[in-house]
């Protein structure tokens, strides 16, 4: 390599609060608040090997940030914010930063239950996996010939969200209720989205994408909180479930890129001092902030629609394979959560109710019982929190808590978090071997790319069980049920 990178890793000072909580003092003059990291010793060690903690410190520089910059147990190096990062800034005096949401706006997860058990589905599993792989477009450039949207459709779907696609016949009327924001974030304005973003988005509605995105047929492996599980439709161990993990595709990526430029100009205009170009932001009460928020809401809705369309094709695959109405198998949407999003929320800060921009970058909202934002049928127990593991490992259903409101602006972790680079994974694993190893464990695999299989091999990720354990121990979302895969579909 010619010359060392001018981005050396800094040593970030840490103070231990307890076994799962670490404090980063305001050790730099620009830091407006301290940092806080929820992790056990091993997760923390891993964070120290990249720039996670440095990025946590950088976020603490944002104007108007409240309390502390938060890094969750799955924290790893991202852009601007660490992935697994949360920050709340004052609605008027603070800033909103696209870097606190990320390129894949509303990358998220939805969970479906069935009334089937593993043994019911086993004989048909290869057929069902094939049908899903056939029906859900995966991989570069693939799409369904029978689902095309015009620019006019696109503008409506980003304003109306899940309801629009249900009205097209792709879904059941009760689906929208079981999504964060009821599947439609308000304030979406397609005029705030560039033509380039719309053009990228046109061909990608209802596509899974590649990288860490996946669709899994799973079964309930263990129930930890039977009462809450039952409320969410999880009845017994061995019950078959589905998990869909994807985002807003090229549409959202372009909205982020476009507004990064807008925010860069805003940083100069409003004279904001930042330690990292990717943290570019604008004052909450500025035109730039409003424009970004309205464009971001479009991408949020795009992603909800994307997952809704994919879920519909899962139900359709059931119909093809079992030759019966999919409703007979349950196939109910438990919940759909966003992992990359900024929200306007009210939080109690130092005893006072404050309107804030909550940035969740690789983080899941984890609201406690009683909140009006939660679907009525879940309100008594709290919001379902979905944390997917890496390919072939376990995934989790948790429930939001009051503690999360007190210490993490109603947020918890979102996944396993990588720990091995993609190039290292490719050197160590070969796609064909990864597939074989999964199949030996009885997990069917269909993948559009064998490179993705190698890069996404399980040892490349932190153990999601430990991430969830920390969330549970800290109390920012507690365990409800754990799922293991029966079949994996990858882009």
């Amino acid at each position: 390599m010619s010359g060392e990178s001018r981005f050396p890793k800094e040593k970030v000072p840490l103070e231990k609060i307890d076994d799962y909580t670490w404090h980063i003092p305001k050790y730099k003059p620009g830091m407006r608040v301290p940092g806080i990291v929820f992790a056990d010793k091993n997760l923390l060690e891993k964070m120290r090997t990249d720039r996670t903690l440095q990025q946590c410190t950088n976020v603490a520089h944002l104007p108007g940030i409240y309390k502390y910059s938060i890094t969750l147990p799955d924290g790893h190096e991202g852009y601007g914010f660490p992935i697994g990062g949360v920050a709340a800034t004052d609605y008027d005096e603070g800033v909103i930063s696209p870097g606190g949401v990320g390129y894949d706006i509303n990358c998220g997860v939805r969970l479906l239950t069935t009334n089937l058990s593993e043994q019911d589905i086993r004989p048909k599993l290869p057929q069902l996996t094939d049908a899903i792989f056939e029906n859900v477009p995966c991989g570069l450039g693939s799409r369904r010939k029978d689902f095309r949207v015009t620019v006019h459709d696109l503008e409506r779907l980003v304003m109306e969200g899940v309801q629009w696609v249900i009205d097209q016949g792709l879904g059941w009327s009760e689906d929208a209720e079981h999504c964060e924001e009821h599947g439609c974030m308000k304030n979406a304005d397609p005029d705030k989205v560039s033509t380039t973003a719309k053009n990228r988005g046109l061909r990608q509605v209802g596509t899974l994408g590649s990288g860490n995105h996946f669709l899994e047929i799973q079964k309930v492996d263990k129930i930890y909180d039977a009462k809450t599980a039952k409320t969410f439709g999880i009845e017994h161990e061995g019950q078959v479930t589905f998990m869909i993990h994807c985002g807003s595709r090229g549409f959202g990526h372009q909205v982020c890129s476009d507004y990064l430029r807008v925010m860069e100009r805003a940083v100069h205009k409003y004279n904001i001092l930042l330690p990292d170009r990717e943290l570019a932001c604008a004052p909450g009460n500025s035109r730039e902030a409003e424009d970004y928020y309205q464009a971001m809401a479009c991408a949020v809705n795009y992603a909800f629609v994307n997952r809704q369309a994919i879920m519909h094709w899962v139900r359709q695959s059931f119909q093809q394979v079992f030759k019966e109405d999919p409703e007979r198998f349950g196939l109910k949407l438990v919940y759909d959560v966003a992992h990359n999003i900024a929200k306007i929320e009210i939080h109690k800060i130092n005893g006072e109710r404050r309107k804030v921009w909550v940035h969740r970058k690789g983080a899941t909202r984890a609201f406690p019982p009683g909140r009006p934002e939660i679907p009525a049928d879940y309100r008594a127990v709290g919001q379902p929190v979905l944390i997917p593991g890496s390919m072939g490992t376990s995934s989790w259903l948790l429930v939001g808590t009051e503690k999360a409101m007190q210490i993490s602006f109603g947020s918890t972790a979102h996944g396993a978090g990588r720990m091995m680079s993609r190039s290292a994974a490719k050197r160590r694993f070969w796609g064909g071997d990864v597939k074989k190893a999964l199949e030996q464990r009885g997990i069917s695999v269909r993948a559009a790319s064998s490179v993705v299989l190698a890069e996404e091999a399980d040892p490349s990720y932190k153990n999601v069980d430990i991430v969830v354990e920390v969330s549970d121990k800290v109390g920012i979302a507690t365990k409800v049920a754990r799922f293991v895969p029966l079949a994996v579909v990858k882009g």
Partner: protein
């Protein structure tokens, strides 16, 4: 020795936990930009299998050299997605300093996605500024950047 080896290399993939961290080299900024583009498409497919049969042009301006690199790669990514094309040949025709930044014109060649012949590796979500740098030495320019995937 390392210097001599990297001079021959057009680009390489560096270690990064989550995404694609790339170093691209050239005798000047224009060549480093061409190789950066080549590396980005190598993330998505096997570039040598993409025939440079369709020609297209890119023209863009940016306020500084990093922003120019960002916009160059982003323009190609957008073109690739919207036109369903892979590109494998890049020629920077001009790269000039202007009164308010930089301007670039380039010819790019490639062909339509063809899953039969173009192995699908990983989709690139976006270009990022994270740890982006442009290092200029006499007769050698290195650009480093990270793609979100």
């Amino acid at each position: 020795m390392a210097e001599i080896m990297t001079l021959k290399k057009k680009f390489e993939f560096l270690e990064h936990t989550a995404d694609a961290y790339i170093a691209a080299y050239g005798k000047d900024l224009a060549e480093a930009f061409e190789n950066a583009a080549l590396a980005m498409f190598e993330v998505m497919t096997e570039v040598e299998k993409v025939n440079p049969e369709v020609e297209d042009y890119v023209e863009l301006a940016a306020e500084d050299e990093c922003a120019l690199l960002y916009s160059w790669l982003e323009a190609l990514l957008v073109k690739s997605e919207i036109n369903r094309m892979f590109y494998s040949k890049f020629k920077v025709l001009s790269l000039d300093k202007t009164s308010d930044g930089f301007r670039l014109k380039a010819k790019v060649c490639g062909e339509k996605y063809n899953p039969e012949r173009h192995p699908h590796k990983v989709g690139v979500k976006a270009v990022t500024y994270h740890r982006m740098e442009i290092i200029k030495k006499p007769n050698k320019v290195t650009v480093r950047f990270i793609l979100d995937i």
